[in-house]
C-alpha cells in the first residue's frame, strides 16, 4: 500500500499525521481491554476455476500461491486458504447470490432462509456499535436493479428473517450515512441537547408504534417490523445514546468519496470507485462505526461489467463462457489485489501490540463453487487474519471434495470472532466447526 492510498482512505484533520492519533485515541479508550474482533467479508460472483485457485503445496505450510492469489504474497503468514466446500443451495447461476452467506436454501415462501453470517455475527458483536454492520456493493445497471426490485444492488446479506439487507452502491452516500454528524445540523433543534432529546422522543415513539402494531401481525409481517425495530435501535445508538464526543467526529476529518451517477457506473467497473468502497469500509472499521462489514466486488449478475482498468471489452460472463481461463484469472487477480490492498491498510493501523489486522478476520470468497454457471461443491474460501490468535494461519488446506459445507467454514468464522455457535447454516448438512483450523 502506498502513501496515496492511505491518504485517500484516511485524510485526517489539518496537521494530523496519518493514522497514529486516531489509533492512539482508540487504544486509550480501550485501555485495559482486549481490542475488539472484527469481521470483513468480500464476495465476488461468477465462479472461479479450480485450476486457477489451486496452489502448489508441498505441505500445508509450504506452498506457492496460485497466480490469482499472488497479491497475498506479502501477507502469506496471515492466510488460510481453504477448499473444497459444498453449498448445494448456491447454484452458481446469475442472480443467485442469496445462499452464499446463509448456507441455506429457501423456505416454503421461496424466500431465502436467513440470516447470512455477517448479520448473524453483527447482531451478536455489533449491537452496541453505531452500525451493527455495513453492506456495500457496486452499482451495475438499471436493468439489474429492476430485476431485483427490493434488493437492487447485488449482495449476499440477509436478515434473520431472510429479508434482504440491501447493499449501498454509491460510496458517497454510504460515506454520508456512516460518518454523518447530525449534531452539526441547523434548524430549531441546533442545540445539541435539544437535538438529542427530540431524536430520542421520535425514536421512542416509533419503537412504541412498531411494538403496538406487531401485536396484530402474523410471522412474515412481524419479521418486517423486526427489521425496522432493529434499524431504529441502531439509529438510536448513533443519535441518542452515543456520547457526544463520538458524534462530533472521534475519527477526525475524512474526505468524502467522489460522487458518481448511475450513468457513470453502468456496466463498468471503475478503479477509483472500487477504491472508494474499500476506503469507506476501512474507515468505518477504523473509526469504530462498525465491526462487521461486507463488500460485494462483483455480483453474479455482473455479466457485462467491463474492467476498463484491465482493458477488458468482454466482461466476466463472456470470458467464462468462452473458457478463457487467462482472462478469468486476470480478473480474479484484480479482485485479490483489492482485497490485499484492504488487508494492507488494516495491517498499517497499530492496535494493541500489533495492528488492526491481528484482530480482524477477512473472508474472501466467490458465490460460485466452481466454474461459471456450474458447481457448488468446490468453493475456495480465503481467510486473512488469525482473529486474535484463534486460527493458526499461514496454511493451505484442501478438504475432501464435498466433505464439508460452506456453513462449516462460517461456523468456524463466527466462533473465531467471538460468537459461539455449534452449527451455522443448514442444520442437516452442516457438521459444525472445521477441524484443523485452531491454534
Amino acid at each position: 500500500m502506498n502513501r496515496r492510498d492511505l491518504m485517500r482512505g484516511m485524510a485526517w484533520g489539518a496537521g494530523g499525521s496519518l493514522v497514529a492519533p486516531m489509533a492512539q485515541r482508540l487504544f486509550a479508550e480501550a485501555a485495559g481491554t482486549a481490542p475488539p474482533k472484527r469481521l470483513v467479508i468480500v464476495v465476488c460472483g461468477g465462479g472461479m476455476y479450480e485450476k486457477n485457485y489451486t496452489c502448489t503445496a508441498r505441505s500445508e505450510t509450504d506452498f506457492d500461491l496460485s497466480p490469482i492469489f499472488s497479491p497475498f504474497e506479502p501477507y502469506k503468514r496471515d492466510l488460510l486458504i481453504l477448499s473444497k466446500f459444498a453449498n448445494p443451495f448456491g447454484k452458481g447461476l446469475h442472480g443467485d447470490e442469496g445462499a452464499t452467506l446463509t448456507a441455506q436454501g429457501r423456505g416454503a415462501d421461496k424466500n431465502w432462509i436467513g440470516p447470512s453470517v455477517d448479520r448473524f455475527v453483527a447482531k451478536r458483536i455489533g449491537a452496541s456499535d453505531p452500525f451493527s454492520s455495513i453492506n456495500l456493493g457496486l452499482w451495475e445497471s438499471e436493468g439489474v436493479a429492476a430485476s431485483n426490485k427490493a434488493d437492487p444492488v447485488p449482495n449476499c446479506s440477509k436478515e434473520e428473517s431472510g429479508a434482504p439487507n440491501p447493499a449501498e452502491a454509491f460510496s458517497d452516500q454510504a460515506f454520508s450515512r456512516i460518518f454523518s454528524d447530525p449534531s452539526g445540523a441547523g434548524g430549531p433543534a441546533a442545540n445539541t441537547d435539544l437535538f438529542r432529546t427530540l431524536d430520542s422522543s421520535v425514536i421512542d415513539f416509533a419503537l412504541d408504534d412498531v411494538r403496538r402494531l406487531q401485536g396484530r401481525l402474523a410471522a412474515p409481517e412481524k419479521a418486517r417490523l423486526d427489521q425496522y425495530l432493529s434499524s431504529l435501535r441502531e439509529l438510536e445508538g448513533r443519535l441518542v445514546t452515543a456520547p457526544p464526543a463520538t458524534m462530533t467526529g472521534g475519527c477526525g476529518k475524512l474526505v468524502a468519496p467522489k460522487k458518481y451517477s448511475k450513468r457513470d457506473l453502468n456496466d463498468v467497473v471503475l478503479e477509483e470507485n472500487v477504491d472508494d468502497h474499500i476506503s469507506v469500509l476501512f474507515n468505518a472499521l477504523v473509526c469504530g462505526r462498525t465491526k462487521v462489514a461486507t463488500l460485494m466486488l462483483h455480483g453474479n449478475d455482473s455479466a457485462h461489467n467491463l474492467y476498463k482498468v484491465l482493458d477488458d471489452v468482454e466482461g466476466y460472463h463472456k470470458h467464462s463462457h468462452a473458457g478463457r481461463a487467462d482472462w478469468i484469472a486476470k480478473i480474479n487477480t484484480y479482485w485479490s489485489q483489492k482485497v490485499a490492498k484492504l488487508w494492507g491498510m488494516l495491517r498499517s493501523v497499530p492496535e494493541g501490540n500489533g495492528s488492526m489486522a491481528d484482530n480482524t478476520l477477512l473472508v474472501y470468497m466467490n458465490c460460485g463453487g466452481g466454474d461459471h454457471h456450474e458447481g457448488s461443491s468446490r468453493h475456495a474460501i480465503v481467510l486473512l487474519g488469525s482473529a486474535g490468535g484463534y486460527f493458526k494461519t499461514g496454511r493451505y488446506l484442501t478438504y475432501p471434495k464435498g466433505a464439508f459445507v460452506t456453513g462449516d467454514v462460517f461456523t468456524s468464522v463466527a466462533n473465531a470472532v467471538g460468537v459461539p455457535v455449534d452449527k451455522f447454516g443448514d442444520q442437516a448438512l452442516g457438521h459444525g466447526a472445521l477441524p484443523n483450523l485452531r491454534t
Binding site: A86, W139, E142, G143, A146, A206, R224, A303, E374
Partner: protein, 579 residues
C-alpha cells in the same frame, strides 16, 4: 428463484440468451430450486428443446381456454386453486414516498433523490424492507420535512401560529394531519399519544422555541411511524381470508393508479364506508383513471419497458455525440408522451402502442429521427417515416437501451420481445455454452449470430431469440435508423414464432411490430405484467383462477385495452382480498 417479477427489465444484455434465470418460474418448472444432495454438483441442464407454451405452465390437463367471445369468468370461487395475496404491510416505494409527502407539505422536491440505492426501489412495494439505510433515509427526510413544517406552521394549521397553541389546537393538528399521513382516521388513543409527543417537544425547549420543537417532533413521529411508511393490507381482525378495510382500499387504489396517497374524495368514500361497495370502487377507479394521466399507470409502463433506465444509458465512440444525455432524456420524454397519448387520447389499446406511425418529438429528436419541420423544444405529435418506425419497440428509448456502448445487441432485443412482449419463457441455459463470437471487421451482427447458432448448444436458445432481434438491426447502438452496417447493407429479415395465429416471416422491425400488435399473445402478456405489478406478486396464476382467465380473454378481445385492463384489475375481488 428470488422474488424476481415478470416485469423484468433487461439491460443491454447479450448474456447468452441462455443465461440468467427466467422470471416467473415456479416449482413445477424449476426443479433445481430444491437443494441438491449433499456434496453433489448441480448437473448441467439438459439442452433446451422448446418453449414452454405460454399460459399453460402448471395448468391442469383439462384446463381449456375460454372460447373467443365468451363472457369473463367470475373473479372468485371459480377454482379452489386461487391463491390470494397474503395479509401484508407494503412499504412505500421511493416515488410513492415523494408523492405522499408532496400531498402533505406541498412542493418538497424529490427527497428520494437523496436516498441511498438501498432505499430506492421499484415495483409496488412488496418485499421492500426497512433496513438500516432505508430507516436512516426516512428518518432524515422526516427531519427535513418537520423543519419545514415548524418554520411554516400555517402549513399545518393557522392555530399553530400563535405563541402558545392550546390543547384543542394541538389535537386538531394531530387529528387532521395524522389522518392524512396515515391515510385513515386516528384512534383516540393515537391522538392522545401524538399530542403528548408535541408536549414533550415543547417542554424540551422552554420559551419561544418550544412551539417549533413541539411541531417538529410530532411531525417527525408521524413520518417515521410504521403506519405512515407502510401501507396496511391487513384487512379485518382474525386469521384466514379477509377483505381490505375501506381505508386500506382507498390506499390500494390510489397508490396503484395515482402512485400517491388517496385524495379527499377517496378518503370521503372510505370514511363513509362506500368503498366497500363494488359500484363505488368502479366509480372511483374511473375517476382516478381519468385524472392527470393516472401516474400509477404510467409508472407501470416505465417499469415494464424500462423507460426510466434509458435516461441513464450512455454510448461511446462515434455514438456518444449522437446520444448525449439530453437526447437520452428527450427519448424518455418521447416514450412517456406517446404512451399518454395512446392511452388517454387515443383508443387506449396496446396494439396501437406497438404499431402507431407517430410519436412525440422536439427539434432535437427530429434530428435524431431524421424528420424535417419540427421546430422548438416542445414535444409535438409527428408522423415518423413509416418504413422506419412503428410503435414503441422502434423508439429510440427502447432501441438504445437494448444495445451495447458501440454495437447493437440483437440478442437483448430478441429476448426483450420474447420474454417481455410475448411473456414466453426461454429454456434454462446449458452450462458453459460458448460466447457469441467477438466482433470482427466486415462481419455483421447477423453473421456473428449465424456462426453462434451453428453450435447446437447455442441454437436451442438462439433460434427462439435471434429471429425476433435481428429485424431491429436497422437501429444502431444509439437507436438511430441505419441501412448499412460498416460497409454492408443491413439485412432485417426475421420470423415471428410461438404465437397461435400470427407466426410467419417478417421483413423488418416495422413488419414485426405490426404482427406483434395483431397477436393476441402481446395483449395477454401486458395483462399478465399488469396483474403481477398491481398485485405486487411474483407471478400470475396460470390455471385461470383468481379471475385471470377472464382477464386474459378480455385482453385478447380488446387488443389490450389499457384503460379497461386497469379498471378490471383494481376492481377485481382479488385486488382487495387477502388470506
Amino acid at each position: 428463484m428470488t422474488t424476481r417479477c415478470s416485469i423484468l427489465v433487461l439491460a443491454a444484455s447479450s448474456l447468452c440468451a441462455c443465461s440468467g434465470q427466467i422470471d416467473g418460474e415456479n416449482d413445477s418448472v424449476d426443479p433445481t430450486n430444491a437443494p441438491a444432495p449433499r456434496g453433489a454438483d448441480r448437473k448441467p441442464a439438459a439442452a433446451p428443446t422448446a418453449l414452454i407454451p405460454p399460459d399453460r405452465e402448471g395448468a391442469p390437463a383439462n384446463t381449456t381456454p375460454a372460447p373467443s367471445g365468451s363472457a369473463p369468468q367470475p373473479v372468485l370461487g371459480t377454482s379452489p386453486a386461487c391463491v390470494l395475496s397474503p395479509r401484508r404491510l407494503v412499504r412505500l416505494s421511493a416515488s410513492q414516498y415523494d408523492n405522499t409527502v408532496a400531498a402533505l407539505f406541498g412542493k418538497t422536491g424529490r427527497l428520494s433523490d437523496g436516498f441511498s440505492t438501498a432505499t430506492k426501489s421499484l415495483g409496488m412495494g412488496a418485499g421492500l424492507g426497512l433496513g438500516q439505510a432505508a430507516t436512516a433515509d426516512f428518518f432524515e427526510a422526516a427531519r427535513t420535512l418537520a423543519r419545514k413544517a415548524s418554520a411554516e406552521p400555517a402549513l399545518l394549521d393557522p392555530c399553530l401560529t400563535t405563541a402558545a397553541p392550546d390543547a384543542a389546537c394541538v389535537r386538531k393538528v394531530v387529528t387532521t394531519f395524522g389522518t392524512r399521513a396515515f391515510r385513515r382516521p386516528l384512534a383516540e388513543e393515537e391522538i392522545v399519544r401524538f399530542s403528548a409527543v408535541y408536549k414533550k417537544g415543547v417542554a424540551a425547549a422552554p420559551g419561544a422555541p418550544g412551539v417549533a420543537a413541539g411541531i417538529e417532533v410530532v411531525v417527525r413521529a408521524l413520518l417515521v411511524s410504521p403506519h405512515f411508511l407502510l401501507r396496511s393490507e391487513l384487512g379485518g381482525v382474525g386469521t384466514g381470508p379477509t377483505t381490505l378495510t375501506p381505508h386500506e382500499r382507498a390506499s390500494a387504489l390510489s397508490y396503484a393508479l395515482a402512485d400517491g396517497p388517496p385524495d379527499d374524495l377517496l378518503m370521503q368514500s372510505a370514511d363513509s364506508g362506500a368503498l366497500s361497495r363494488k359500484d363505488e370502487v368502479i366509480s372511483q377507479t374511473r375517476r382516478l383513471l381519468g385524472q392527470s394521466g393516472a401516474p400509477g399507470v404510467m409508472r407501470f409502463f416505465d417499469e415494464y419497458l424500462g423507460t426510466q433506465a434509458a435516461a441513464g444509458v450512455s454510448k461511446e465512440g462515434s455514438y456518444a455525440a449522437q446520444f448525449s444525455p439530453e437526447v437520452a432524456t428527450a427519448l424518455v420524454s418521447e416514450t412517456r408522451a406517446f404512451l399518454r397519448d395512446v392511452i388517454w387520447q387515443g383508443d387506449g389499446r396496446w396494439s396501437t402502442a406497438l404499431s402507431a406511425d407517430y410519436s412525440f418529438i422536439d427539434d432535437r429528436l427530429a434530428k435524431y429521427y431524421g424528420v424535417m419541420n419540427v421546430v422548438g423544444p416542445m414535444l409535438r405529435k409527428t408522423t415518423l417515416p413509416t418504413n422506419q418506425r412503428a410503435g414503441l419497440l422502434t423508439q429510440g428509448s427502447v432501441m438504445a437501451r437494448l444495445a451495447r456502448k458501440v454495437e447493437t445487441d440483437p440478442v437483448a432485443r430478441g429476448k426483450f420481445v420474447r420474454e417481455l412482449i410475448l411473456c414466453q419463457k426461454l429454456p434454462e441455459p446449458p452450462a458453459n455454452v460458448p460466447p457469441i463470437p467477438a466482433p470482427l471487421p466486415n462481419v455483421t451482427q447477423r453473421q456473428r449470430l449465424e456462426r453462434h447458432r451453428a453450435d447446437p448448444a447455442c441454437s436451442a436458445c438462439h433460434r427462439l431469440i435471434d429471429p425476433l432481434g435481428l429485424p431491429f438491426e436497422a437501429y444502431d447502438a444509439a437507436g438511430r435508423f441505419r441501412s448499412t452496417e460498416g460497409n454492408k447493407p443491413v439485412v432485417t429479415t426475421g420470423e415471428l414464432t410461438g404465437t397461435a395465429s400470427s407466426d410467419g416471416p417478417v421483413v423488418d422491425a416495422v413488419d414485426l411490430s405490426r404482427k406483434l400488435a395483431n397477436a393476441p399473445e402481446t395483449a395477454q402478456c401486458l395483462a399478465k405484467a399488469a396483474f403481477v405489478y398491481l398485485n405486487a406478486r411474483d407471478d400470475m396464476p396460470m390455471d385461470g383462477s383468481c379471475g385471470t382467465a377472464g382477464l386474459l380473454e378480455k385482453a385478447r378481445l380488446t387488443g389490450g385495452d389499457v384503460r379497461a385492463l386497469f379498471l378490471d384489475l383494481v376492481t377485481a375481488d382479488t385486488f382487495f382480498s387477502r388470506q
